[in-house]
């Protein structure tokens, strides 16, 4: 198995520009374009494991929240469709 290696952790995948303000390095994990983080708040150095840990933890936490408190989980689009269908005409 591959453990922690400094150089691997500090070599993020190449960034793919996905909007004017965001890039994607890992699948479904979006980041602000680093060019926008230079004037007031500088970015921290992030090893790859930390990005992946946070993203995975967020998913786990949201799933936990749904499991504990959500009667039903629906998408925003479903909400919009429902509102639209209720509007007259």
């Amino acid at each position: 198995m591959t453990g922690y290696r400094y150089h691997e952790q500090h070599t993020p995948p190449p960034a793919r520009q996905v909007t004017d303000v965001a890039v994607e390095r890992f699948e479904h994990i979006f980041e602000v374009d680093p060019k926008l983080m230079t004037a007031h708040v500088a970015q921290q150095l992030f090893p790859n494991w930390d990005t992946l840990r946070i993203a995975a933890s967020r998913g786990d936490h949201l799933e936990w929240m749904h499991r504990h408190w959500a009667y039903q989980v629906i998408s925003a689009q479903e909400l919009l469709d429902e509102i639209e269908s209720e509007q007259p005409g």
Binding site: A39, V41, Q43, Q44, L45, R53
Partner: protein, 431 residues
């Protein structure tokens, strides 16, 4: 800070997320080292102070016990604001910072980490702040008596002064391996933390014999010292670095390329402190044993067959679950052991659990640490289990003490696996 070599670091304010245009140096009569600290941490402190969500409060194991607002992660950041404003000094607040196990729950649960940290590459770093504030106190001559004594003894002996039957000294650091004929050196070595090397000797014996069963070759260090992590956690950074330099030199002299780590605390030290100390020069691969064992089982190189008739729950060690996101592999190991009845508690619920044993809390605040251990075992008792399994040697002694009143055994996951593999490990088997 995480993974930043000093000589290649961005400006200090970039480390903690400080602004380049602050115009504030936090002077106010502070010492130069304090001014530098405030410059580094002011922006992160204001980020917390101005957000004010305080989701950190209820996941904090210390706060659950003391309900003292001075012990909250929010207060740790607010103190920096107050220091910068000239309202407080490090002497005023240093003692508050002992009230932390550095479990990482607060910074993970903080929305500035959990929901935006990866997006901005800028997250809450309360653990780093606590370490730096403790170091700042030491740099200013403000010592906590227990921390000071512990690190003096560690410096004298090259190992932490853990209590037990084995004398803590360099000549005894490999006693745990007696009769196992493990070679010295090699491309891969097993690093054994102080608690396991001198007290929980059955644990490294279990790991060594499991690896041997799988045909995985490894050796031991020529002269292993304490990893230095506890010194870094308590603010004695120069000592931590000295210990790190010794261990790295030992590895290089023996041609070591890979270090196996069974203790989550060591894993943090080797993947966060050492990279910060050595930067690009840190070319040693660090492998967490519990991950390696899960892989060996998945590959069919280890097959536990001896049924273990216990009703268990699993304690997610903070430094694996919260700080590294390692929670699946231990469950994969437990799932492979026949006979177990497993009452699991999910990893997110366990963000608010802790053994209380981390970052020197039992040294300076043993009564708080003990209460945290009791809280953790109360949670286990509600599951009507007879055994709590952990993957962290430092958690197991305090949890075992709390478990006695609740008729719950505390067993290490490596030893449990060894038992199911039919290995009689020897050594001290109970926490």
């Amino acid at each position: 800070m995480t993974d930043v070599p000093p000589r290649q670091s961005p400006a200090p304010e970039e480390q903690a997320g400080g602004a380049a245009d602050t115009g504030h140096n936090g002077g106010n009569g502070h010492s130069p080292v304090t001014v530098e600290f405030l410059s580094e941490w002011r922006n992160a402190a204001y980020n917390c102070y101005s957000s004010g969500h305080k989701f950190c409060r209820e996941v904090c194991p210390v706060m659950q016990v003391t309900r003292n607002e001075n012990h909250t992660p929010t207060a740790f950041h607010a103190n920096v604001v107050a220091m910068e404003q000239g309202e407080l000094t490090v002497e005023d607040v240093a003692e508050d910072y002992v009230n932390c196990t550095q479990c990482g729950a607060c910074e993970l649960r903080c929305p500035n980490t959990l929901f935006t940290g990866d997006f901005y590459r800028f997250r809450t770093r309360t653990v780093d702040l606590v370490k730096r504030m403790r170091a700042l106190a030491v740099d200013n001559g403000v010592h906590q008596p227990g921390y000071q004594r512990w690190n003096e003894l560690t410096d004298e002996r090259s190992h932490e002064p853990v209590l037990g039957d084995t004398p803590v000294s360099q000549e005894h650091v490999r006693d745990w391996a007696g009769g196992l004929d493990i070679p010295i050196g090699g491309e891969t070595v097993l690093f054994v933390d102080c608690e396991a090397a001198f007290y929980r000797t059955s644990l490294p014996r279990a790991v060594a014999q499991i690896l041997r069963r799988a045909g995985y070759e490894f050796g031991l260090m020529t002269e292993q010292w304490c990893c230095g992590g506890p010194a870094a956690e308590m603010g004695y950074r120069d000592q931590a670095r000295r210990f790190a330099e010794h261990n790295l030199a030992d590895w290089r002299a023996a041609g070591v390329r890979r270090v196996l780590v069974l203790d989550p605390h060591d894993y943090i030290t080797f993947t966060e402190d050492y990279p910060e100390f050595f930067g690009d020069d840190f070319d040693i691969e660090i492998v967490l044993v519990v991950e390696l064992l899960a892989q060996l089982i998945a590959e069919g190189r280890l097959t536990p067959t001896v049924p273990i008739e216990r009703t268990i729950t699993y304690h997610d060690p903070c430094r694996l679950n919260k700080r590294k996101g390692v929670w699946q592999e231990p469950r994969q190991i437990l799932g492979a052991i026949p006979g177990l009845t497993f009452h699991d508690v999910d990893r997110v619920t366990q963000w608010s659990y802790c053994s209380g044993a981390g970052a020197g809390l039992p040294i300076e605040r043993p009564e708080i640490a003990r209460k945290i251990s009791e809280n953790r075992m109360d949670e286990a008792a509600q599951l009507e289990v007879d055994t709590l399994v952990s993957a962290c040697p430092w958690s197991e002694r305090p949890l075992a003490e709390a478990g006695q009143d609740r008729a719950i055994d505390v067993v290490d996951i490596h030893e449990l696996l060894a038992e199911s593999l039919g290995i009689d490990v020897g050594g001290r088997t109970r926490a």
